[in-house]
Protein backbone atom coordinates (compact mmCIF):
# COMPACT_ATOMS: atom_id res chain seq x y z
CA UNK A 1 0.00 0.00 0.00
CA UNK A 2 2.72 2.44 1.10
CA UNK A 3 4.83 1.36 -1.85
CA UNK A 4 2.00 1.97 -4.30
CA UNK A 5 1.36 5.36 -2.74
CA UNK A 6 5.06 6.20 -2.91
CA UNK A 7 5.35 5.15 -6.52
CA UNK A 8 2.23 7.13 -7.30
CA UNK A 9 3.82 10.27 -5.91
CA UNK A 10 7.01 9.66 -7.84
CA UNK A 11 5.07 8.98 -11.02
CA UNK A 12 2.95 12.10 -10.79
CA UNK A 13 5.45 14.65 -9.52
CA UNK A 14 8.59 13.36 -11.16
CA UNK A 15 7.75 11.68 -14.45
CA UNK A 16 4.51 13.65 -14.74
CA UNK A 17 6.46 16.88 -14.52
CA UNK A 18 8.92 15.70 -17.13
CA UNK A 19 6.10 14.82 -19.50
CA UNK A 20 4.35 18.12 -18.86
CA UNK A 21 7.60 20.02 -19.44
CA UNK A 22 8.07 18.08 -22.64
CA UNK A 23 4.60 19.07 -23.74
CA UNK A 24 5.14 22.72 -22.79
CA UNK A 25 8.31 22.80 -24.89
CA UNK A 26 6.13 22.10 -27.93
CA UNK A 27 3.83 25.09 -27.30
CA UNK A 28 4.14 28.85 -27.41
CA UNK A 29 3.52 29.29 -23.66
CA UNK A 30 4.77 32.47 -22.06
CA UNK A 31 3.77 33.41 -18.50
CA UNK A 32 0.87 30.95 -18.34
CA UNK A 33 0.63 27.53 -19.98
CA UNK A 34 -0.76 27.60 -23.46
CA UNK A 35 -1.78 24.30 -24.96
CA UNK A 36 -1.53 25.22 -28.63
CA UNK A 37 0.83 22.79 -30.29
CA UNK A 38 3.50 24.47 -32.44
CA UNK A 39 5.89 21.56 -33.06
CA UNK A 40 9.62 22.10 -32.68
CA UNK A 41 9.54 25.90 -33.02
CA UNK A 42 10.91 26.44 -29.52
CA UNK A 43 13.86 24.08 -30.15
CA UNK A 44 14.75 25.91 -33.34
CA UNK A 45 14.63 29.18 -31.40
CA UNK A 46 16.69 27.67 -28.63
CA UNK A 47 19.48 26.44 -30.86
CA UNK A 48 19.69 29.75 -32.69
CA UNK A 49 19.80 31.65 -29.39
CA UNK A 50 23.32 33.01 -28.89
CA UNK A 51 23.01 33.01 -25.10
CA UNK A 52 22.00 29.34 -25.07
CA UNK A 53 24.88 28.34 -27.30
CA UNK A 54 27.34 30.25 -25.10
CA UNK A 55 25.80 28.49 -22.06
CA UNK A 56 26.35 25.10 -23.63
CA UNK A 57 29.93 25.93 -24.59
CA UNK A 58 30.57 27.21 -21.05
CA UNK A 59 29.19 24.01 -19.63
CA UNK A 60 31.55 21.95 -21.76
CA UNK A 61 34.59 24.07 -20.76
CA UNK A 62 33.62 24.09 -17.10
CA UNK A 63 32.64 20.41 -17.17
CA UNK A 64 35.86 19.10 -18.69
CA UNK A 65 38.13 21.21 -16.46
CA UNK A 66 36.06 20.59 -13.35
CA UNK A 67 35.81 16.81 -13.78
CA UNK A 68 39.44 16.32 -14.79
CA UNK A 69 40.68 18.75 -12.14
CA UNK A 70 38.59 17.34 -9.31
CA UNK A 71 39.48 13.75 -10.20
CA UNK A 72 43.17 14.56 -10.42
CA UNK A 73 43.26 16.58 -7.23
CA UNK A 74 41.01 14.22 -5.25
CA UNK A 75 42.97 11.20 -6.43
CA UNK A 76 46.25 12.83 -5.48
CA UNK A 77 44.92 13.52 -1.99
CA UNK A 78 43.65 9.94 -1.73
CA UNK A 79 47.05 8.54 -2.73
CA UNK A 80 48.75 10.64 -0.08
CA UNK A 81 46.23 9.54 2.53
CA UNK A 82 46.67 5.93 1.44
CA UNK A 83 50.40 6.08 2.20
CA UNK A 84 49.45 5.79 5.90
CA UNK A 85 50.27 9.34 6.85
CA UNK A 86 50.02 10.52 10.41
CA UNK A 87 46.70 12.10 11.51
CA UNK A 88 45.02 10.72 8.42
CA UNK A 89 41.50 11.13 9.78
CA UNK A 90 42.21 14.77 10.65
CA UNK A 91 43.26 15.51 7.07
CA UNK A 92 40.34 13.53 5.73
CA UNK A 93 37.95 15.66 7.76
CA UNK A 94 39.63 18.88 6.66
CA UNK A 95 39.45 17.93 2.98
CA UNK A 96 35.90 16.67 3.25
CA UNK A 97 34.78 19.81 5.06
CA UNK A 98 34.12 21.98 1.96
CA UNK A 99 31.44 19.49 0.97
CA UNK A 100 29.50 20.34 4.13
CA UNK A 101 29.39 23.97 3.00
CA UNK A 102 26.59 24.81 0.60
CA UNK A 103 27.60 25.85 -2.90
CA UNK A 104 26.09 29.29 -2.27
CA UNK A 105 28.46 29.85 0.65
CA UNK A 106 31.36 28.39 -1.34
CA UNK A 107 30.59 30.74 -4.20
CA UNK A 108 30.28 33.80 -1.95
CA UNK A 109 33.53 33.03 -0.15
CA UNK A 110 35.42 32.58 -3.37
CA UNK A 111 33.85 35.74 -4.77
CA UNK A 112 35.24 37.66 -1.82
CA UNK A 113 38.65 36.02 -2.10
CA UNK A 114 38.88 36.67 -5.83
CA UNK A 115 37.34 40.16 -5.76
CA UNK A 116 39.97 42.44 -7.32
CA UNK A 117 39.36 45.30 -4.92
CA UNK A 118 38.73 43.61 -1.58
CA UNK A 119 40.21 40.13 -2.12
CA UNK A 120 43.53 38.55 -2.88
CA UNK A 121 44.61 41.16 -5.43
CA UNK A 122 43.85 44.00 -3.04
CA UNK A 123 45.68 42.22 -0.22
CA UNK A 124 48.86 41.63 -2.22
CA UNK A 125 48.81 45.16 -3.60
CA UNK A 126 48.34 46.45 -0.06
CA UNK A 127 51.51 44.59 0.93
CA UNK A 128 53.46 46.61 -1.64
CA UNK A 129 53.32 44.69 -4.91
CA UNK A 130 51.46 47.43 -6.72
CA UNK A 131 51.47 45.69 -10.09
CA UNK A 132 50.09 42.37 -8.89
CA UNK A 133 47.04 41.50 -10.94
CA UNK A 134 44.61 38.67 -10.39
CA UNK A 135 41.29 39.78 -11.78
CA UNK A 136 40.00 36.61 -13.39
CA UNK A 137 36.63 37.03 -11.75
CA UNK A 138 35.95 40.22 -13.72
CA UNK A 139 37.73 39.18 -16.91
CA UNK A 140 35.15 37.85 -19.39
CA UNK A 141 37.70 35.44 -20.88
CA UNK A 142 38.80 34.02 -17.54
CA UNK A 143 35.79 34.24 -15.20
CA UNK A 144 34.81 30.68 -16.07
CA UNK A 145 38.10 29.41 -14.58
CA UNK A 146 37.28 30.94 -11.21
CA UNK A 147 34.16 28.76 -11.20
CA UNK A 148 36.38 25.77 -11.92
CA UNK A 149 38.69 26.62 -9.01
CA UNK A 150 35.81 26.99 -6.56
CA UNK A 151 34.16 23.82 -7.86
CA UNK A 152 37.32 21.75 -7.46
CA UNK A 153 37.86 23.12 -3.97
CA UNK A 154 34.32 22.10 -3.10
CA UNK A 155 34.30 18.55 -4.50
CA UNK A 156 37.88 17.28 -4.29
CA UNK A 157 37.33 16.04 -0.73
CA UNK A 158 34.40 13.85 -1.74
CA UNK A 159 36.37 12.32 -4.60
CA UNK A 160 39.27 11.75 -2.22
CA UNK A 161 37.06 9.82 0.18
CA UNK A 162 35.54 7.66 -2.58
CA UNK A 163 38.90 6.91 -4.20
CA UNK A 164 40.45 6.25 -0.79
CA UNK A 165 37.73 3.73 -0.02
CA UNK A 166 38.54 2.06 -3.34
CA UNK A 167 42.26 2.04 -2.53
CA UNK A 168 41.60 0.47 0.85
CA UNK A 169 39.75 -2.32 -0.92
CA UNK A 170 42.82 -3.24 -2.99
CA UNK A 171 44.03 -6.76 -2.20
CA UNK A 172 46.99 -6.78 0.19
CA UNK A 173 48.64 -9.47 -1.96
CA UNK A 174 48.55 -7.17 -4.98
CA UNK A 175 50.72 -4.65 -3.16
CA UNK A 176 53.06 -7.44 -2.15
CA UNK A 177 53.31 -8.59 -5.77
CA UNK A 178 54.09 -5.00 -6.78
CA UNK A 179 56.88 -4.85 -4.23
CA UNK A 180 58.27 -8.23 -5.31
CA UNK A 181 58.44 -7.03 -8.92
CA UNK A 182 60.10 -3.80 -7.82
CA UNK A 183 57.56 -1.60 -9.59
CA UNK A 184 57.99 2.08 -8.67
CA UNK A 185 55.10 3.60 -6.76
CA UNK A 186 53.87 5.98 -9.47
CA UNK A 187 53.77 3.19 -12.06
CA UNK A 188 52.03 0.91 -9.58
CA UNK A 189 49.25 3.47 -9.08
CA UNK A 190 48.94 4.53 -12.71
CA UNK A 191 49.28 1.16 -14.41
CA UNK A 192 48.08 -1.39 -11.87
CA UNK A 193 45.95 0.04 -9.08
CA UNK A 194 43.82 2.68 -10.83
CA UNK A 195 43.07 0.64 -13.96
CA UNK A 196 41.81 -2.02 -11.57
CA UNK A 197 39.48 0.50 -9.93
CA UNK A 198 37.57 1.47 -13.07
CA UNK A 199 34.07 1.10 -11.53
CA UNK A 200 35.03 3.45 -8.68
CA UNK A 201 36.43 6.06 -11.05
CA UNK A 202 33.37 5.73 -13.29
CA UNK A 203 31.08 6.39 -10.32
CA UNK A 204 33.08 9.50 -9.49
CA UNK A 205 32.80 10.77 -13.08
CA UNK A 206 29.03 10.24 -13.10
CA UNK A 207 28.72 12.03 -9.78
CA UNK A 208 30.75 15.00 -11.04
CA UNK A 209 28.87 15.08 -14.35
CA UNK A 210 25.59 15.52 -12.54
CA UNK A 211 27.19 18.45 -10.67
CA UNK A 212 28.11 20.03 -14.00
CA UNK A 213 24.68 19.67 -15.59
CA UNK A 214 22.87 20.88 -12.50
CA UNK A 215 25.43 23.67 -11.99
CA UNK A 216 23.39 26.67 -10.92
CA UNK A 217 24.03 27.80 -7.34
CA UNK A 218 27.78 28.26 -7.72
CA UNK A 219 27.25 30.50 -10.78
CA UNK A 220 24.57 32.50 -9.02
CA UNK A 221 26.71 33.09 -5.95
CA UNK A 222 29.95 33.88 -7.76
CA UNK A 223 29.29 35.59 -11.07
CA UNK A 224 25.55 35.65 -11.74
CA UNK A 225 26.45 34.55 -15.26
CA UNK A 226 28.68 37.53 -15.86
CA UNK A 227 30.67 39.46 -16.72
CA UNK A 228 28.18 39.85 -19.56
CA UNK A 229 27.16 36.30 -20.43
CA UNK A 230 30.70 34.94 -19.95
CA UNK A 231 29.70 32.36 -17.34
CA UNK A 232 26.12 31.54 -18.32
CA UNK A 233 25.13 27.90 -17.80
CA UNK A 234 22.18 25.93 -19.27
CA UNK A 235 20.48 25.45 -15.89
CA UNK A 236 20.67 29.16 -15.21
CA UNK A 237 19.38 29.83 -18.73
CA UNK A 238 16.32 27.68 -18.04
CA UNK A 239 15.60 29.25 -14.65
CA UNK A 240 15.99 32.75 -16.07
CA UNK A 241 13.56 32.05 -18.90
CA UNK A 242 11.03 30.36 -16.60
CA UNK A 243 10.86 33.04 -13.94
CA UNK A 244 12.50 36.27 -15.08
CA UNK A 245 11.70 36.37 -18.77
CA UNK A 246 8.41 34.44 -18.47
CA UNK A 247 8.97 32.32 -21.55
CA UNK A 248 7.65 28.95 -20.40
CA UNK A 249 7.97 27.35 -23.84
CA UNK A 250 11.61 28.20 -24.46
CA UNK A 251 12.62 27.38 -20.87
CA UNK A 252 10.91 23.99 -21.16
CA UNK A 253 12.73 23.33 -24.41
CA UNK A 254 16.02 24.16 -22.66
CA UNK A 255 15.14 21.78 -19.80
CA UNK A 256 14.32 18.94 -22.14
CA UNK A 257 17.53 19.59 -24.10
CA UNK A 258 19.46 19.26 -20.81
CA UNK A 259 17.66 16.02 -19.98
CA UNK A 260 18.54 14.56 -23.37
CA UNK A 261 22.12 15.71 -22.94
CA UNK A 262 22.37 14.04 -19.51
CA UNK A 263 21.03 10.79 -20.87
CA UNK A 264 23.50 10.90 -23.75
CA UNK A 265 26.39 11.49 -21.34
CA UNK A 266 25.30 8.72 -19.00
CA UNK A 267 24.59 6.21 -21.76
CA UNK A 268 28.18 4.90 -22.05
CA UNK A 269 28.29 4.30 -18.29
CA UNK A 270 25.04 2.34 -18.19
CA UNK A 271 26.01 0.48 -21.32
CA UNK A 272 29.33 -0.68 -19.88
CA UNK A 273 27.70 -1.59 -16.55
CA UNK A 274 25.03 -3.58 -18.36
CA UNK A 275 27.60 -5.34 -20.52
CA UNK A 276 29.65 -6.28 -17.48
CA UNK A 277 26.65 -7.98 -15.84
CA UNK A 278 25.78 -10.19 -18.78
Amino acid sequence: MTVVFFFGIVAVFFYGSILWTGYMSLTRSTLMPNYNFVGFDQYIKLFTNHRWLVSCLNMVIFGVLYIVGTLAFGTLLAVFADRRIRAESLFRTIFLYPLAVSLIVTGLSWRWVLDPVNGLQGLVRGMGWENFTFDWLTDPNRAIYTLVIAGIWHSAGLIMVIILAGLRGVDEDLWKAIRMEGIPLWRAYLQVIFPGMRPVVASCVVLLMSDVIRGYDLVIAMTKGGPGIATEMPAKFAVDYYFARVNLGLASAASIAMLVLSLLLLAPYFYSEFRRRT
Binding site: D173, L174, K176, A177, M180, I183, G196
Partner: protein, 356 residues
Protein backbone atom coordinates in the same frame (compact mmCIF):
# COMPACT_ATOMS: atom_id res chain seq x y z
CA UNK B 1 69.79 -23.01 -7.29
CA UNK B 2 70.40 -21.11 -4.12
CA UNK B 3 70.67 -21.93 -0.49
CA UNK B 4 68.66 -20.05 2.10
CA UNK B 5 69.50 -19.84 5.71
CA UNK B 6 67.14 -18.39 8.23
CA UNK B 7 68.91 -17.41 11.41
CA UNK B 8 67.25 -16.66 14.74
CA UNK B 9 64.32 -14.76 13.29
CA UNK B 10 62.23 -13.10 15.97
CA UNK B 11 59.17 -10.99 15.53
CA UNK B 12 56.56 -9.83 17.97
CA UNK B 13 53.55 -7.72 17.35
CA UNK B 14 51.78 -5.80 20.11
CA UNK B 15 53.22 -8.06 22.80
CA UNK B 16 52.33 -11.23 20.91
CA UNK B 17 55.27 -13.33 19.77
CA UNK B 18 54.70 -14.19 16.11
CA UNK B 19 58.08 -15.75 15.34
CA UNK B 20 60.15 -17.14 18.18
CA UNK B 21 63.77 -17.63 17.14
CA UNK B 22 63.19 -19.50 13.91
CA UNK B 23 66.23 -21.28 12.46
CA UNK B 24 66.26 -23.14 9.16
CA UNK B 25 68.98 -24.23 6.75
CA UNK B 26 67.68 -24.85 3.25
CA UNK B 27 69.94 -26.54 0.72
CA UNK B 28 70.05 -25.50 -2.96
CA UNK B 29 67.22 -27.04 -4.97
CA UNK B 30 65.25 -28.26 -1.98
CA UNK B 31 61.45 -28.19 -1.89
CA UNK B 32 60.57 -27.03 1.61
CA UNK B 33 57.03 -26.95 2.92
CA UNK B 34 56.20 -24.86 5.95
CA UNK B 35 53.16 -26.49 7.52
CA UNK B 36 51.03 -25.33 10.41
CA UNK B 37 47.56 -24.30 11.52
CA UNK B 38 46.40 -20.75 10.85
CA UNK B 39 48.03 -18.22 13.12
CA UNK B 40 51.20 -20.27 13.65
CA UNK B 41 53.34 -17.64 11.92
CA UNK B 42 54.08 -19.52 8.70
CA UNK B 43 52.90 -16.78 6.34
CA UNK B 44 54.69 -14.16 8.40
CA UNK B 45 57.88 -16.18 8.12
CA UNK B 46 57.51 -16.33 4.35
CA UNK B 47 56.91 -12.57 4.21
CA UNK B 48 60.03 -12.02 6.31
CA UNK B 49 62.06 -14.19 3.92
CA UNK B 50 60.67 -12.19 1.00
CA UNK B 51 61.34 -8.90 2.76
CA UNK B 52 57.67 -7.89 2.69
CA UNK B 53 57.57 -7.91 6.48
CA UNK B 54 60.17 -6.70 8.97
CA UNK B 55 61.50 -8.83 11.78
CA UNK B 56 62.76 -7.66 15.16
CA UNK B 57 66.03 -9.54 14.97
CA UNK B 58 67.73 -12.28 13.02
CA UNK B 59 69.12 -12.70 9.52
CA UNK B 60 68.06 -14.04 6.15
CA UNK B 61 71.09 -15.27 4.24
CA UNK B 62 70.79 -16.25 0.58
CA UNK B 63 73.87 -17.86 -0.99
CA UNK B 64 76.05 -16.61 1.86
CA UNK B 65 74.87 -13.01 1.37
CA UNK B 66 72.92 -11.35 4.17
CA UNK B 67 69.84 -9.90 2.46
CA UNK B 68 68.05 -8.79 5.64
CA UNK B 69 68.35 -5.10 4.75
CA UNK B 70 67.41 -5.42 1.07
CA UNK B 71 64.15 -4.54 -0.65
CA UNK B 72 62.02 -7.53 -1.75
CA UNK B 73 62.79 -6.93 -5.42
CA UNK B 74 66.54 -6.96 -4.78
CA UNK B 75 66.62 -10.34 -3.05
CA UNK B 76 66.38 -12.37 -6.21
CA UNK B 77 63.16 -14.09 -5.18
CA UNK B 78 59.87 -14.79 -6.87
CA UNK B 79 56.58 -15.26 -5.06
CA UNK B 80 53.16 -16.73 -5.78
CA UNK B 81 50.26 -15.49 -3.69
CA UNK B 82 47.12 -17.11 -2.34
CA UNK B 83 44.81 -14.64 -4.09
CA UNK B 84 47.05 -14.76 -7.21
CA UNK B 85 47.41 -10.94 -7.10
CA UNK B 86 47.43 -10.59 -10.88
CA UNK B 87 47.48 -7.05 -12.28
CA UNK B 88 43.75 -6.67 -12.94
CA UNK B 89 43.65 -4.41 -15.99
CA UNK B 90 46.46 -6.09 -17.91
CA UNK B 91 46.35 -9.02 -20.28
CA UNK B 92 48.08 -12.23 -19.28
CA UNK B 93 50.98 -11.34 -21.59
CA UNK B 94 51.38 -7.95 -19.93
CA UNK B 95 51.11 -9.55 -16.48
CA UNK B 96 54.06 -11.74 -17.37
CA UNK B 97 56.13 -9.01 -19.01
CA UNK B 98 55.39 -5.95 -16.86
CA UNK B 99 57.98 -6.69 -14.19
CA UNK B 100 60.71 -7.17 -16.79
CA UNK B 101 59.55 -4.05 -18.64
CA UNK B 102 59.92 -2.00 -15.47
CA UNK B 103 63.34 -3.53 -14.85
CA UNK B 104 64.42 -2.46 -18.34
CA UNK B 105 64.92 -5.91 -19.81
CA UNK B 106 65.48 -5.84 -23.61
CA UNK B 107 62.33 -6.46 -25.63
CA UNK B 108 63.63 -9.57 -27.37
CA UNK B 109 64.46 -11.20 -24.04
CA UNK B 110 61.00 -10.37 -22.69
CA UNK B 111 59.27 -11.97 -25.69
CA UNK B 112 61.48 -15.01 -25.44
CA UNK B 113 60.84 -15.50 -21.73
CA UNK B 114 57.10 -14.98 -21.99
CA UNK B 115 56.97 -17.57 -24.77
CA UNK B 116 59.03 -20.01 -22.73
CA UNK B 117 56.81 -19.69 -19.66
CA UNK B 118 53.59 -19.78 -21.67
CA UNK B 119 54.72 -23.02 -23.29
CA UNK B 120 55.91 -24.52 -20.01
CA UNK B 121 52.61 -23.83 -18.25
CA UNK B 122 50.44 -24.35 -21.33
CA UNK B 123 48.86 -20.90 -21.15
CA UNK B 124 49.67 -19.83 -24.74
CA UNK B 125 45.99 -19.54 -25.68
CA UNK B 126 45.29 -17.32 -22.66
CA UNK B 127 47.98 -14.73 -23.38
CA UNK B 128 45.63 -12.06 -24.71
CA UNK B 129 42.92 -12.44 -22.08
CA UNK B 130 42.38 -10.36 -18.98
CA UNK B 131 42.53 -12.01 -15.53
CA UNK B 132 38.79 -11.47 -15.06
CA UNK B 133 38.18 -13.77 -18.04
CA UNK B 134 40.14 -16.65 -16.51
CA UNK B 135 39.09 -19.46 -14.18
CA UNK B 136 40.74 -19.92 -10.79
CA UNK B 137 43.07 -22.60 -12.06
CA UNK B 138 44.11 -20.52 -15.05
CA UNK B 139 44.79 -17.51 -12.84
CA UNK B 140 46.92 -19.72 -10.65
CA UNK B 141 48.98 -20.74 -13.68
CA UNK B 142 49.49 -17.15 -14.72
CA UNK B 143 50.56 -16.26 -11.17
CA UNK B 144 53.09 -19.09 -11.23
CA UNK B 145 54.18 -17.95 -14.68
CA UNK B 146 54.73 -14.42 -13.45
CA UNK B 147 56.97 -15.79 -10.72
CA UNK B 148 58.89 -18.00 -13.16
CA UNK B 149 59.73 -15.26 -15.68
CA UNK B 150 61.72 -13.56 -12.96
CA UNK B 151 64.19 -16.44 -13.38
CA UNK B 152 65.05 -16.30 -9.74
CA UNK B 153 66.59 -19.35 -8.22
CA UNK B 154 64.26 -19.24 -5.23
CA UNK B 155 60.48 -19.33 -5.47
CA UNK B 156 58.14 -18.66 -2.56
CA UNK B 157 54.56 -19.92 -2.45
CA UNK B 158 51.97 -18.56 -0.02
CA UNK B 159 49.15 -21.14 0.13
CA UNK B 160 48.86 -21.07 -3.67
CA UNK B 161 46.32 -23.87 -3.99
CA UNK B 162 43.91 -23.04 -1.19
CA UNK B 163 41.48 -21.18 -3.48
CA UNK B 164 41.15 -24.08 -5.92
CA UNK B 165 38.62 -26.90 -5.80
CA UNK B 166 39.74 -30.33 -4.62
CA UNK B 167 40.25 -31.94 -8.03
CA UNK B 168 42.18 -29.03 -9.49
CA UNK B 169 44.25 -28.84 -6.32
CA UNK B 170 45.34 -32.45 -6.71
CA UNK B 171 46.29 -31.89 -10.36
CA UNK B 172 48.16 -28.65 -9.71
CA UNK B 173 50.01 -30.32 -6.84
CA UNK B 174 51.45 -32.90 -9.21
CA UNK B 175 52.30 -30.25 -11.80
CA UNK B 176 54.09 -28.11 -9.24
CA UNK B 177 56.12 -31.09 -8.17
CA UNK B 178 57.05 -31.79 -11.78
CA UNK B 179 57.88 -28.13 -12.30
CA UNK B 180 60.30 -28.37 -9.41
CA UNK B 181 61.94 -31.43 -10.97
CA UNK B 182 62.35 -29.54 -14.27
CA UNK B 183 63.54 -26.19 -12.90
CA UNK B 184 65.43 -27.53 -9.89
CA UNK B 185 65.03 -24.18 -8.15
CA UNK B 186 64.77 -23.84 -4.41
CA UNK B 187 61.13 -23.66 -3.38
CA UNK B 188 59.63 -22.61 -0.08
CA UNK B 189 55.95 -23.40 0.12
CA UNK B 190 53.57 -22.40 2.90
CA UNK B 191 50.39 -24.39 3.47
CA UNK B 192 48.01 -25.64 6.12
CA UNK B 193 47.19 -28.69 4.02
CA UNK B 194 49.15 -31.71 5.21
CA UNK B 195 48.54 -33.67 2.01
CA UNK B 196 50.36 -30.96 0.05
CA UNK B 197 53.16 -31.12 2.60
CA UNK B 198 53.43 -34.91 2.54
CA UNK B 199 53.33 -35.25 -1.24
CA UNK B 200 55.49 -32.38 -2.42
CA UNK B 201 58.11 -31.66 0.20
CA UNK B 202 61.69 -32.82 0.44
CA UNK B 203 61.52 -31.61 4.00
CA UNK B 204 58.63 -30.23 6.04
CA UNK B 205 58.90 -27.60 8.75
CA UNK B 206 55.96 -27.95 11.11
CA UNK B 207 55.28 -24.66 12.88
CA UNK B 208 53.30 -24.01 16.02
CA UNK B 209 52.98 -20.74 17.94
CA UNK B 210 55.88 -19.12 16.10
CA UNK B 211 58.30 -22.01 16.62
CA UNK B 212 59.52 -24.73 14.30
CA UNK B 213 58.40 -27.89 16.08
CA UNK B 214 60.08 -30.27 13.65
CA UNK B 215 62.04 -29.89 10.42
CA UNK B 216 62.42 -33.26 8.72
CA UNK B 217 61.45 -35.28 5.63
CA UNK B 218 57.69 -35.88 5.47
CA UNK B 219 57.89 -39.61 6.19
CA UNK B 220 59.81 -39.14 9.41
CA UNK B 221 57.42 -36.38 10.44
CA UNK B 222 54.67 -38.94 10.05
CA UNK B 223 56.47 -41.86 11.65
CA UNK B 224 58.51 -40.11 14.30
CA UNK B 225 56.79 -36.87 15.29
CA UNK B 226 59.09 -34.82 17.48
CA UNK B 227 56.36 -33.45 19.69
CA UNK B 228 52.81 -34.01 20.81
CA UNK B 229 51.67 -31.13 18.60
CA UNK B 230 53.16 -32.65 15.44
CA UNK B 231 51.68 -36.03 16.37
CA UNK B 232 48.22 -34.53 16.65
CA UNK B 233 48.50 -32.24 13.62
CA UNK B 234 49.97 -34.54 10.98
CA UNK B 235 48.06 -37.56 9.77
CA UNK B 236 44.42 -38.28 9.11
CA UNK B 237 42.83 -39.66 11.20
CA UNK B 238 44.87 -38.05 13.94
CA UNK B 239 47.29 -40.21 15.90
CA UNK B 240 45.69 -42.05 18.84
CA UNK B 241 47.01 -40.60 22.09
CA UNK B 242 46.89 -42.38 25.46
CA UNK B 243 47.97 -40.70 28.70
CA UNK B 244 49.72 -42.93 31.25
CA UNK B 245 53.06 -43.46 32.86
CA UNK B 246 56.29 -45.31 32.13
CA UNK B 247 57.57 -47.37 35.04
CA UNK B 248 61.16 -47.42 33.80
CA UNK B 249 61.15 -51.19 33.67
CA UNK B 250 59.66 -51.81 30.26
CA UNK B 251 55.94 -51.27 30.99
CA UNK B 252 53.61 -48.40 30.08
CA UNK B 253 50.71 -48.15 32.55
CA UNK B 254 47.31 -46.85 31.52
CA UNK B 255 44.76 -47.00 34.33
CA UNK B 256 44.58 -50.65 35.46
CA UNK B 257 46.17 -51.94 32.25
CA UNK B 258 49.69 -51.94 30.95
CA UNK B 259 51.53 -52.65 27.70
CA UNK B 260 55.13 -53.60 27.17
CA UNK B 261 57.33 -50.72 26.06
CA UNK B 262 60.50 -52.80 25.85
CA UNK B 263 60.66 -52.76 22.03
CA UNK B 264 60.49 -48.96 21.85
CA UNK B 265 63.75 -47.22 20.87
CA UNK B 266 63.97 -44.69 23.73
CA UNK B 267 66.54 -41.96 23.32
CA UNK B 268 67.45 -42.46 26.94
CA UNK B 269 66.96 -46.02 28.20
CA UNK B 270 64.79 -46.69 31.28
CA UNK B 271 62.92 -43.40 31.05
CA UNK B 272 60.20 -43.20 33.69
CA UNK B 273 57.37 -40.83 34.59
CA UNK B 274 54.19 -39.38 33.15
CA UNK B 275 54.03 -39.97 29.40
CA UNK B 276 51.73 -40.02 26.41
CA UNK B 277 51.66 -42.95 24.01
CA UNK B 278 50.96 -42.01 20.41
CA UNK B 279 50.06 -44.73 17.95
CA UNK B 280 48.90 -44.56 14.34
CA UNK B 281 45.71 -46.35 13.32
CA UNK B 282 47.68 -48.71 11.04
CA UNK B 283 50.00 -49.81 13.86
CA UNK B 284 47.21 -51.45 15.85
CA UNK B 285 46.14 -55.07 15.33
CA UNK B 286 42.72 -56.37 16.21
CA UNK B 287 43.07 -59.72 18.07
CA UNK B 288 40.92 -62.14 20.06
CA UNK B 289 39.86 -60.60 23.38
CA UNK B 290 42.21 -61.75 26.14
CA UNK B 291 45.19 -62.44 23.87
CA UNK B 292 48.58 -61.79 25.50
CA UNK B 293 49.68 -58.14 25.64
CA UNK B 294 46.35 -56.96 24.24
CA UNK B 295 43.91 -54.48 25.68
CA UNK B 296 40.17 -55.15 25.58
CA UNK B 297 38.16 -52.77 23.41
CA UNK B 298 34.59 -52.28 22.27
CA UNK B 299 33.69 -51.47 18.65
CA UNK B 300 31.78 -48.18 18.36
CA UNK B 301 31.35 -48.00 14.58
CA UNK B 302 33.19 -48.52 11.34
CA UNK B 303 33.77 -46.19 8.37
CA UNK B 304 34.27 -47.69 4.91
CA UNK B 305 36.68 -45.55 2.92
CA UNK B 306 36.65 -47.49 -0.33
CA UNK B 307 40.14 -49.01 -0.45
CA UNK B 308 40.18 -49.71 3.27
CA UNK B 309 38.17 -48.93 6.39
CA UNK B 310 38.47 -47.38 9.82
CA UNK B 311 37.22 -49.03 12.95
CA UNK B 312 36.50 -46.79 15.93
CA UNK B 313 36.94 -48.55 19.29
CA UNK B 314 36.33 -47.49 22.86
CA UNK B 315 39.48 -48.53 24.66
CA UNK B 316 40.89 -47.39 28.03
CA UNK B 317 38.35 -44.58 28.13
CA UNK B 318 39.38 -43.18 24.73
CA UNK B 319 37.90 -43.39 21.24
CA UNK B 320 40.66 -44.96 19.10
CA UNK B 321 40.88 -45.44 15.33
CA UNK B 322 42.22 -48.64 13.76
CA UNK B 323 42.83 -49.13 10.05
CA UNK B 324 41.13 -52.31 8.84
CA UNK B 325 40.58 -54.23 5.64
CA UNK B 326 37.12 -53.72 4.18
CA UNK B 327 36.16 -57.38 4.76
CA UNK B 328 37.49 -57.35 8.32
CA UNK B 329 35.53 -54.19 9.02
CA UNK B 330 32.30 -55.75 7.72
CA UNK B 331 32.62 -58.81 9.95
CA UNK B 332 34.02 -57.04 13.01
CA UNK B 333 32.74 -58.28 16.35
CA UNK B 334 31.70 -56.01 19.22
CA UNK B 335 34.24 -57.24 21.81
CA UNK B 336 37.86 -57.45 20.68
CA UNK B 337 41.40 -56.98 21.91
CA UNK B 338 43.80 -54.38 20.51
CA UNK B 339 47.53 -55.02 20.28
CA UNK B 340 49.86 -52.05 19.73
CA UNK B 341 53.00 -52.23 17.59
CA UNK B 342 55.09 -50.38 20.15
CA UNK B 343 58.22 -50.37 17.98
CA UNK B 344 56.40 -48.06 15.55
CA UNK B 345 54.65 -46.02 18.23
CA UNK B 346 55.78 -42.75 19.82
CA UNK B 347 56.18 -41.81 23.46
CA UNK B 348 56.05 -38.21 24.54
CA UNK B 349 56.92 -36.68 27.87
CA UNK B 350 53.73 -35.40 29.50
CA UNK B 351 55.53 -32.34 30.84
CA UNK B 352 57.71 -31.16 27.91
CA UNK B 353 55.50 -32.73 25.22
CA UNK B 354 58.71 -33.73 23.38
CA UNK B 355 59.43 -37.19 22.00
CA UNK B 356 61.12 -39.60 24.42
Amino acid sequence: MSSVSIRKIRKSFAGLIVLDSVDMEIAPGEFIVILGPSGCGKSTLLNVIAGLDDCDSGQIVIDAVDVSGLEPSQRGLAMVFQSYALFPAMTVRRNLSFGMEVAGTPKATIVQKVDWVAKLLQIEVLLDRKPSQLSGGQRQRVAIGRALVRSSSICLFDEPLSNLDAKLRAETRVELKQLHETLKSTMIYVTHDQIEAMTMADRVAVMHKGRVEQFAPPQSIYEKPASLFVAGFVGSPAMNLLEGSLDGAGRFLVGQRSVSSSTYPFEEPSTAGEAVLGIRCEDIDVVEPGSPDSIPAKLAFTELLGADALGWFDCLGKRMSVRLGVDAARSMRKEVGLRFDIAKASFFSASTERRL
